[in-house]
Every structure is written in structure tokens, then in C-alpha cells.
Amino acid sequence: MITDATLCYVDTASKWQQKLILKCLERLPVDAVEMTVPVWQNIADMAVLPAQKYILRINDYEDIWHYKGAYRYVLTAKEYAAAKKQLIRQNVYNASGKKIETRIIGLTRLSVLDIEAIFTHWSGEQKPVSFEPFDSLNQATALAFAWHKRGQQAVTSFCGIADHAPLEEILLAAHLAGIVPMREKMNFRLLKKIVSAVLGISIPVNKPVIGDAIFAVESGIHVDGIMKNPQLYEPYPPEFINAKRRIILGSTSGRKAVEVKLKELKLSCRRLDTAAILEKVKEKSRILCRSLTDKEFYDLVEMMGRV
């Protein structure tokens, strides 16, 4: 089970952007959406509130009565700042104000292998435990996924904002493990656009699942393998996340990549072998100290007089 807390960290977004984020989350296999009171107030006037379980992050127990309509209320612990250094417990209440769950949030210095015994202890507690690990040691995805795999509630945020386990990584891991088989493709494009605009961040091109270049391939061995069967070097089909495979030509390319690119650009090179073109590609790539654009490749082949 996944609770996504992206809306807890976009208070600066416009009302419209917050509503769009909520709509994007609605299309993903997320079990509950957590948000702060200001965001809850902003989305309240939506004509039709998406059918979700809403969890409200509150600072005071009395807020349960002030902001009615949520499924659960997480009372932010007074010692919240301590979560940057260690795990802390928070109480989770239902709409009647009854303590019904526990939230464990923060940074742990335990690895996934170390924490398994503690997970067993948490699983045995009377009240369900949701786990919101922080990512300072780059363990959050693995920790959240391990807890999620036990059928428990893990708390994420899109793109891992505010030091969380990235929602998209947990969804893909769960899909590949057969825990949450997706019937539909996942599309993170709009979510990515809004979140990067709101937070003023540039998402790295190699960011797992949502990076722009994760299906770009240059190396000769890999292009050759992918042309035989994409599964050889791809963990899942790019189409599954609405992405496309891109063959890039550069210093580590092989002949197969040249053949593929010629075909892709509808270029004919009957009188010139691909080995000669490849040599030119490598030479030019070394001079430019980067891979070639399609235009540069086109010009190169044209210059060799074989278009």
C-alpha cells in the first residue's frame, strides 16, 4: 500500500497546480493522498473531489474537528525536526478522533537487511504502522519498498521531494516484483512538469523512471543487444512509462548503431560501408567531446557523398 505525500511539500504551488497534482495522482495506483491543511483548503472547492482516501497532516489534535472530511489525520510530532536524525513515532487518528494507526518517520542508519527484524516487530503491533523513511543515506526507496512488499503502508513523494522515497521508483519496483501489476501504462510527464516548475528544480536526465535520457543508448554492445531483443538491456519497455528509446551516436558506438540511425533517418549508403561511417562518427565525437546530434550525423553522411 502506498500513501503519497507530494501535496505536503507544494504549499507554494498555485491552487490550480495543486489540483493538477491531485488529478495526476488519481491516475496512479496510490492508496491514499496526504496533504497539509492549506492544500486541503485549496482543493476543497473542486467540483468533484477525486475518489481517494485523504490523509491530513495536522499540527494540533483539535484540527480533526476543524477540517472535517479526511479519512485519516497524522498529528505531526512536536519533535519533528528530530526525524532528520532518527526515526520518530507519530499518531494517526480517524475522523472520530480515535488513535488508529502509527506513523514512523525519519532517518534510519539501519540497512534493509538490518531493519528486517524491526519490520517483523512493527508488523506484529496492534495498530497498523505506516513507514515514511528519509533518504539522506540513499536507502529510502529500498526501505519503503521492503515495507510495502510486506503489504504495509509506505509513504512516498513524487521525485523523492523533501528527502522521501520517490513514488515512481516504488511503483515500478512493485510492478516488476508483481506486487502491483499495472494494467495501464504510467505517465509521469505532467506531474514532472508541475513539480519541477513549482519547486524550481531540474530533474536529472538519468533520474530513475522519470529522467529524460534513461532510454538513450550509445554503447555498441548495448545497441546491438537491444536490436536483437530490447529486454537484454532494458529493465522494462520504455513505452510502459510513456517514454521512447533513443539511439545515440558517439565514441562508444558500433556499426549496428550506424545502421539503425541510417534507417531511422531514411538515409541510403549503398556505396559506403558502415565501418567507414562509424570511424568518422567516432572521430567527430572525439573532436566535439560529446555524442552527435541527428543533424550532425546527417551532414556527416551527406558530406561523405552517399545520401
Partner: protein, 259 residues
Amino acid sequence: MMAPYIHIVDTTLRDGTQSPLIMFSDKEKIAVAKMLDEKGVYQIEAGIPAIGKSEQEIIKKIKQVCHNARIAVWNRLNADDINTSLACNADIIHISIPVSYRQIHEKLKKDETWLLQEIDKVVYPATGNKAEVTVGMEDASRAQMDFMLAVVRKVKQFGVGRVRFADTVGIMTPLAVHEQISRLIQETSIDIEFHAHNDLGMAVANSIAAVQSGAFFIDTTVNGIGERCGNCDMDKFIFAASSIFNSDKNERVNGEENG
């Protein structure tokens, strides 16, 4: 818990440069190698000699300027590749062997029997040289354990002391890493080097799990560059490993008594 001694095997100049958006000039490659050498990495995977003469030249220069790290070169399971590599004076000849059904049958268009015979033909002669030979099990995370054990036992007979377990498409989780690495070590006592990819954002966590399972050679790259989502980020791994292996394992949750 006493922190384990971990050997960093840096592959920035091999797997890292396979990232399509990153390319180093020759000068930059030398500078990166020197910095890695000064930083104290155990091994630098300097490149793939089979790529061509310019790659071979740069590997030779890297070997000249690095005084501490062991210089390794990457090879396919191919005698010509290895002969080219031997001329580069590298300390380690690394031979990559596809071990998953997909890789053997669909990429190489061969079968397991052919592969084992090829190991006899290629790996055995390679071990007769001055350079150490290590073997990489490509796509190990999707391979059958029985076949991997057969490969490890065979190369061990030839004197190979370390094999690389490659999560080529980055689909592993720490528990799967633990299960596979522990079994390989338990059954063969060979040294394991773990090579992670970050497709699910678990490269660092998987590498930590590998160490905890007995793999004391960890592959990393500077800034985590590499194919698709990259490899295990060196700095992030070192930071995580130093925090995790030097921490109190009896960590308590604040507020536990009130839970």
C-alpha cells in the same frame, strides 16, 4: 559492528562513459584516473581496449600515471579482445561472460554448453599471463543460480579468485542481493564484486546489502554516471556505508515507549 574493509572498484572510465550524454576527452580521462588514484580507490576500470587504438593509448597512459590503484581493462569473452588488452599493461584483465538465458540464447545465439567450452578456450589461457584475471557475470540478476555456480566453479579451477555479480538492468532489491550473493559465497568461497545499476533507485542500498552478504568489492562511478540511470554513486555509497557500518545496530525509534 566492526566496519568491513571495502574495496572500491571504480568504473567511471568504462561503464560511466557508456552513458550516452557523457564523454571525457583524453586529458579529462587522465585527470579522473589520477584523482581516483589519489582518493585511494582499489581498482580503476580504465576502458575497453577492443574499442580501438586511441582507447588503448589512453589506458597505457592511465597505467603510467596511477601509482596506487590497480588498473583493469574490460573484455568480451573473446581471445582477440584479451590479446589486445594484454598489450595495454593493465594489472587486471576483466572478462565479461553473459550468464542469463536471454543473454546467451538471444544475444550470443548460443547455448550454455558452448559458453562453458568457450570459457575453457578463452579464460584458461588468459590466466597464464602476469595480469590477474577477474570474471564478470553479465546479467547475473536474471540468471539461473545453478548455471552461475557452474561458471564460478569452472573459472575458479583456472585460478580466478574474484567474480563480478552484475545487476545489468538494475532490477535487484537488497533482499534479492543478499540471497544470491550469500549463496554464491557459501557454495564457492570465491571473492564477489558487486556491480549495481540504479534503474529502481536502489544501487546504493543494493551495494550495502552486497557488502553485508560478504561481497567486499563494490563497483562505483563518480556521480553515479553510467548506462540508463547510472551505476552506484561512489560518494553516496561511501557516505551511506560509513554511516551504516559505524552506527549502533540497536537503534530505537523515538517515542517507542509510548507506542
